[in-house]
C-alpha cells in the first residue's frame, strides 16, 4: 500500500488528475474462478468487451486479445454472453 500523504502534499480539494490516479487492482475480488478464452472460437464480436463491467477485456484495434486479470472480478458475464462459447470460467 502506498504511503499516506500529508495535507499539503494533496491536490487542492482532492481533485484527482486522471494521469496521476491510482488504479486499484480489483482482480482480488475474484472468488476462485477466472475467465479463459479459446481463441480459435472467438469471432471478435466484441460482446464480451461491451458487457464486461470492469473493462477487463483487452483489445487490439477491434480484435479480442485477452483478459486483464489484474482487474477482472470474475463475474462470468463474458462467458455467458459470448455467442460462440469461446470463454469458460476456470479455477484460479
Amino acid at each position: 500500500m502506498p504511503e499516506l500523504k500529508a495535507w499539503h502534499e494533496l491536490p487542492i480539494a482532492g481533485v484527482v488528475e486522471r494521469d496521476e490516479a491510482l488504479r486499484p487492482r480489483t482482480g482480488a475480488y475474484r472468488t476462485g474462478v477466472k475467465p479463459e478464452v479459446e481463441l480459435a472460437k472467438c469471432v471478435d464480436c466484441l460482446l464480451c468487451w461491451l458487457y464486461c463491467p470492469d473493462s477487463a477485456i483487452v483489445l487490439e484495434g477491434t480484435s479480442f486479445r485477452g483478459f486483464d486479470l489484474d482487474v477482472c472480478k470474475g463475474c462470468e458475464i463474458c462467458s455467458e454472453v459470448c455467442p460462440t462459447g469461446a470463454i469458460a470460467m476456470v479455477a484460479e
Binding site: K5, P11, G14, E17
Partner: protein, 367 residues
C-alpha cells in the same frame, strides 16, 4: 458623483460591472432587489451573463459550484431560508474550493417566518468554511462586492466569499453611493483563473471524490489553511475589523453590520467608549480582536442572533478569543426578526441598564 442607491441596488451595479459569466439565483426577500436590478441591467445589455433562474436555492448553489469549477466566474445571492436550504451545498462549495461570490441580505430564520433582519442565517453556516464579510452601509456593500472576487479567487484562498448586508436596513435603504468606473472594476477583478477546470478535456480531472478516514481529515484541513491565507490578505487590506474610538477606551461595543452606524452616533457623545466592528466574521480575526481590546476593561458583545440552550454565537467567540485577558465581558442579544435598536437602547446597554435580551417584551428567564 454619488448616486442614491439602496444596498441591494449598489450590489447589483457591482455585479453588472464585474459582468460575471454565470449567475444562478433564486428569489427571496430581502435579497430579491439584487437579482431584479441585475436582471434589468442585463436586459439592457449592461451585463453578458448566463443567468440561470434555478428552481431552488439548493440548486442555485449547486449550479454555482458546477459553473465556478468549470472555469466561469460565478455570483449568486440569497437570504435566510434560502441560505438554510442550501446549507448542505455551501459546505461542499467551500470544500470543493469553488470561488463563488454570494451577496447575502441577512434575514431572520423561520420560524416563525419573518422577512426582516437578523444574523441567524449567517450564523447557521459559520462552520462551513466560507468567508463572510459584514458591511455597515450601502457604500461598503458596493466596495466589498467589487473586492470579493479578488479574495475568493486568490490562489491561496479559493473559497466562496459571502458579502453580508443587513436585510432591509441596508438592502432596501437608499443612501449616497459612489460607484467606480466600469473599467476600474474590470481591472480590479481581472480574469478568472482556477487550478483545475472541469472543462479542460486535455487534462481530465475527477472533482468531488469519496474520502475515507485515511484522507478526509487532510483534505478538510486544506480549508483551514485557506482560511488562514484569507485572514492574512484581509489583514493586509485592512478589512478584518474597524476600530472606532478605541484609543484609550475603557469600554468597547463589539458588533457587526449596520448597527455599528447607529452605535457610532451614540459613542461620539460618550467618553471612553469605543466600537469594535467585526467586518470579517469568517475568518474570525482573533489576533486583531485581542490587540484591539487589549486595554479595554469592559467588552459588550451585541449579537443579532441567538442560540437557544446556549450563549449567543458572537459573544461565545469573543469570550473564547479574550479568554484569560481579564476583561469583563457582557452579552446582549438584540434585533431578532427586525426588532429595532435605537440609540437610546445602546445608551442603556452601555450604562448597564439594559436587559440581556434588549427590547424583549417580558422578563427573560435566563440571565
Amino acid at each position: 458623483m454619488k448616486r442614491l442607491l439602496t444596498g441591494g441596488e449598489a450590489v447589483a451595479h457591482a455585479m453588472a460591472q464585474i459582468d460575471p459569466d454565470v449567475v444562478p439565483v433564486y428569489p427571496i426577500t430581502p435579497q430579491t432587489p439584487i437579482i431584479q436590478v441585475f436582471s434589468k441591467l442585463h436586459a439592457e445589455g449592461r451585463a453578458h451573463t448566463e443567468i440561470v433562474n434555478v428552481e431552488s436555492e439548493h440548486s442555485a448553489m449547486s449550479a454555482a459550484i458546477g459553473s465556478a469549477l468549470a472555469g466561469a466566474r460565478t455570483i449568486t445571492a440569497t437570504s435566510s431560508q434560502g441560505l438554510a436550504l442550501m446549507a448542505e451545498v455551501v459546505y461542499i462549495a467551500a470544500a470543493m474550493r469553488a470561488p463563488i461570490v454570494m451577496a447575502v441580505g441577512n434575514r431572520a430564520l423561520s420560524g416563525p417566518i419573518n422577512i426582516h433582519c437578523d444574523h441567524s442565517d449567517s450564523m447557521l453556516i459559520r462552520d462551513s468554511g466560507v468567508i463572510q464579510l459584514f458591511v455597515e452601509n450601502a457604500q461598503e456593500a458596493y466596495d466589498t462586492m467589487v473586492y470579493a472576487p479578488t479574495l475568493a479567487e486568490h490562489p491561496d484562498v479559493l473559497l466562496p466569499v459571502l458579502v453580508c448586508q443587513d436585510g432591509f436596513t441596508i438592502t432596501h435603504s437608499a443612501e449616497p453611493v459612489e460607484l467606480l468606473p466600469d473599467e476600474r472594476v474590470r481591472e480590479i477583478v481581472g480574469d478568472y483563473r482556477i487550478p483545475f477546470s472541469l472543462l479542460d478535456t486535455s487534462r481530465p480531472t475527477t472533482h468531488g471524490p469519496f474520502a475515507m478516514p485515511d484522507y478526509y481529515y487532510e483534505l478538510r484541513h486544506q480549508q483551514v489553511v485557506a482560511m488562514d491565507a484569507a485572514l492574512e490578505l484581509l489583514e493586509a487590506d485592512g478589512r478584518t475589523v474597524e476600530r472606532y474610538r478605541l484609543d484609550g477606551a475603557h469600554t468597547a461595543l463589539v458588533c457587526m453590520g449596520s448597527t455599528a452606524g447607529t452605535a457610532k452616533d451614540v459613542v461620539d457623545e460618550l467618553d471612553g467608549v469605543g466600537i469594535l466592528r467585526i467586518e470579517s466574521y469568517r475568518p474570525f480575526p482573533e489576533r486583531e480582536i485581542r490587540e484591539a481590546l487589549e486595554h479595554v476593561d469592559d467588552v459588550i458583545v451585541l449579537d443579532r442572533a441567538n442560540a437557544p440552550g446556549s450563549q449567543a454565537p458572537l459573544y461565545t467567540e469573543l469570550a473564547a478569543t479574550l479568554y484569560g485577558s481579564g476583561a469583563r465581558i457582557r452579552s446582549h442579544v438584540f434585533g431578532l426578526g427586525g426588532r429595532e435598536l435605537h440609540p437610546e437602547d445602546i445608551e442603556r446597554i452601555i450604562a448597564g441598564d439594559a436587559e440581556r435580551f434588549v427590547g424583549l417584551r417580558g422578563a427573560a428567564c435566563r440571565v
